[in-house]
């Protein structure tokens, strides 16, 4: 069977999009990275070594996932390309551009901003082609960015994208800690689907090699505070270890909102649950592009089968015992 994911020597494989990954080769290496910075930089070097005959393109957004990938390559000073697809709607830009620009300035990298300004008709077209309302795993970013990637690749056939959706979670159940994937089915499938559509054109930064996840295991075993959480998304180490600025929650298509800084769902960083803002897009699409009222849109939305709502993907890469449960009641 083919591995849907592009991973080094198939160390981690997904053979069916509705299934769980299979670990073919993983062990915690004593000589592994002892800091997040080092782990990201090493991960970038591994990817570069394996694909240096291609044009490696780091696909950036304003969020901490893609910026950790960009940090890895920038810190290693590797000759790759950084691209930000700026999607605007009727000339209303995404707010994340600000974070992309500030990151580029701080780490001194040139980011190629490729702008697409969509009209209502363009969006309707994409939605139709992407089977957005019928396909259970279609998400707005998926239909949008896959088309942008494909367009870029058709013009730059030697390019290969590095994308980054961090899905790694530290968990604890009483005295047992574990680390692995714990995410909603929508996010999991989006990552998988992107890779399966363009397998040879996309590298998932955070799990291409096991290096980064080995670091997560190392720090999890090391830090009692990380063990104490019942759930902690390892991506948030970017704030405390790399000093990444706290930032508003970014959703694709922030054009829909007039205020980026509120309500509190925007300014809250939930380190336990990455509350995806993707599901609200379908409602927005129905209202903005098809002219439905909120009530009509909600009715339609509720009839759509979706993988987002309550379905979670759980997969443990490692587990170990802890004594922090003594602090529980």
């Amino acid at each position: 069977m083919d591995n849907i994911w592009n991973t080094k020597n198939d160390w981690l494989a997904l053979y069916d999009i509705d299934d769980l990954p299979v670990v073919n080769n993983y062990s915690l290496n004593d000589d592994g990275s002892k800091s997040l910075s080092d782990a990201l930089t090493t991960q970038a070097r591994i990817i570069y070594e394996d694909f240096k005959d291609r044009d490696i393109v780091i696909s950036m957004s304003g969020g901490i996932d893609s910026q950790q990938a960009a940090y890895g390559f920038a810190n290693a000073n590797l000759p790759v390309k950084y691209v930000y697809f700026k999607t605007s709607f009727n000339s209303r830009p995404e707010k994340e551009q600000f974070y992309v620009e500030e990151f580029a300035r701080k780490y001194n990298i040139p980011v190629n901003i490729i702008e697409r300004n969509y009209t209502s008709e363009d969006v309707k077209d994409l939605v139709k082609k992407g089977n957005y309302f019928k396909d259970k795993i279609a998400t707005a970013p998926l239909i949008l960015f896959n088309s942008l990637y494909q367009e870029y690749i058709s013009q730059n056939p030697n390019s290969i994208f590095v994308t980054s959706t961090m899905m790694f979670t530290f968990s604890r159940d009483k005295n047992l800690c574990s680390g692995g994937i714990l995410t909603d089915r929508g996010t999991f499938n989006e990552v998988s689907k992107r890779t399966s559509n363009l397998k040879l054109k996309i590298i998932p930064f955070n799990f291409y090699s096991s290096h980064l996840w080995e670091y997560y295991e190392y720090v999890h075993r090391q830090e009692l505070v990380l063990q104490f959480h019942k759930r902690f998304q390892a991506k948030n180490l970017a704030y405390t270890e790399l000093g990444f600025p706290l930032r508003e929650k970014l959703g694709a298509f922030d054009w829909f909102t007039d205020s980026f800084h509120e309500p509190e769902t925007k300014t809250r960083i939930d380190f336990a649950n990455d509350r995806s803002m993707l599901s609200s897009n379908k409602m927005n699409f129905l209202m903005h592009f098809w002219g439905h009222s909120h009530t009509q849109a909600l009715k339609l939305y509720n009839t759509m089968s979706s993988h987002y709502t309550n379905d979670f993907v759980r997969f443990n890469l490692y587990s170990f015992e802890t004594d922090v449960d003594k602090y529980d009641l």
Binding site: R231, L246, R268, F271, Y327
Partner: protein, 327 residues
């Protein structure tokens, strides 16, 4: 001239009355520190120099406010006392304890744990004695400080409460004291044996201004509480939101108000306060659910009369161009 209700160096910040508005008499005073760590250390040194004839006591909880204070004194290697007043209930400890133990280990400080282990009856008596309406944390702190002062009358407690926001309105940024509605009653400002670390001298606010003027991302937020720089500058662990009397909940790790860092609004505590009151009334006073609902409603009505809205006192302001990124 009336007395200053704040303890601040040379009255740089002056509060004329308990419910008054602070006046900025003198700002800025020092040169800017260029890192949070330096600013905290400078602030600690300033306090130490002015109160070194007293027993300086850093009152530690598991939260980032008091940890920033402790960090400053520990980094400056100053001979002060670190104390954690532990309020347990029938031997059920506060969950914050792990954060204190780990902090002490990391920064190599000795923390004196003073344990108050309440029984159901003694806690009930305590609640009756303080005529509990809200802010149990303040009352517990007051009791513990008062008990401590009986043994060490020369103690000067250094508190970590942080009331400062970065704000933006259009193209103007502000650094403002955030006078929360809870502030007059929750604070220890009327206690001459306590001073607020953040307010004592201007070092920390000067650093906040330096950074705010320099960092465009901080300018872009419409509201940001700079206390959260402890995560990104000092590498403090993200942690569950702590409340007092967390023994009343069986679950410290949910719901999301526990695991969310809201860098703009400090809202979580109020949500937790409601649960706490509910537990006190049902478990300690054995009220029925109906009686409890009635009493909580009564509390809320009284609260609305007691507290006003948030007010801000600007320490500085400047123009920015980040508003071009607004829609």
């Amino acid at each position: 001239m009336s007395d200053n209700f704040f303890i601040t160096k040379d009255d740089w910040l002056f509060l004329p009355s308990a419910n008054g508005t602070p006046v900025v008499n003198n700002y800025p005073v020092h040169g800017y520190s260029t890192s949070l760590s330096d600013a905290l250390i400078a602030q600690a040194k300033c306090i130490y120099n002015d109160f070194k004839d007293r027993r300086i006591v850093i009152s530690l909880s598991g939260g980032i406010d008091s940890h920033q204070v402790a960090y400053a004194f520990a980094k400056a290697n100053l001979p002060v006392k670190y104390v954690h007043f532990s309020f347990t209930f029938e031997n059920r400890p506060e969950k914050e304890r792990i954060f204190i133990d780990e902090f002490a280990k990391k920064f190599n400080i000795d923390v004196d744990i003073i344990d108050y282990n309440f029984s159901k009856q003694s806690f009930k008596d305590f609640l009756v004695q303080i005529k509990y309406l809200s802010n149990i944390g303040y009352h517990l702190l007051k009791k513990s400080h008062s008990d401590y002062l009986k043994i060490y009358p020369d103690a000067m407690f250094v508190q970590g409460n942080q009331w400062f926001d970065f704000l933006r309105n259009g193209n103007v940024c502000y650094g403002s004291l955030n006078l929360d509605p809870y502030y007059p009653q929750s604070s220890h400002i009327f206690d001459p044996s306590s001073l607020t670390f953040q307010l004592y001298s201007t070092h920390l606010f000067e650093y906040f201004e330096y950074l705010h003027r320099k960092d465009k991302i901080l300018q872009f937020h419409e509201k940001f509480q700079p206390k959260n720089l402890a995560y990104t500058e000092l590498g403090f662990h993200l942690r569950e939101k702590l409340g007092n009397c967390d023994w009343q909940t069986d679950n410290f790790h949910t719901p999301h108000v526990r695991t969310s860092i809201d860098f703009a609004y400090e809202m979580s505590l109020r949500a937790l306060e409601k649960d706490r009151r509910y537990w006190f009334l049902t478990e300690i006073f054995n009220y029925s659910n109906e009686q409890t609902d009635y009493l909580i409603k009564k509390f809320r009505t009284k609260e609305k009369l007691t507290y006003g809205g948030i007010s801000y006192v600007n320490v500085y302001s400047f123009e920015t161009e980040v508003d071009r990124y607004d829609l």
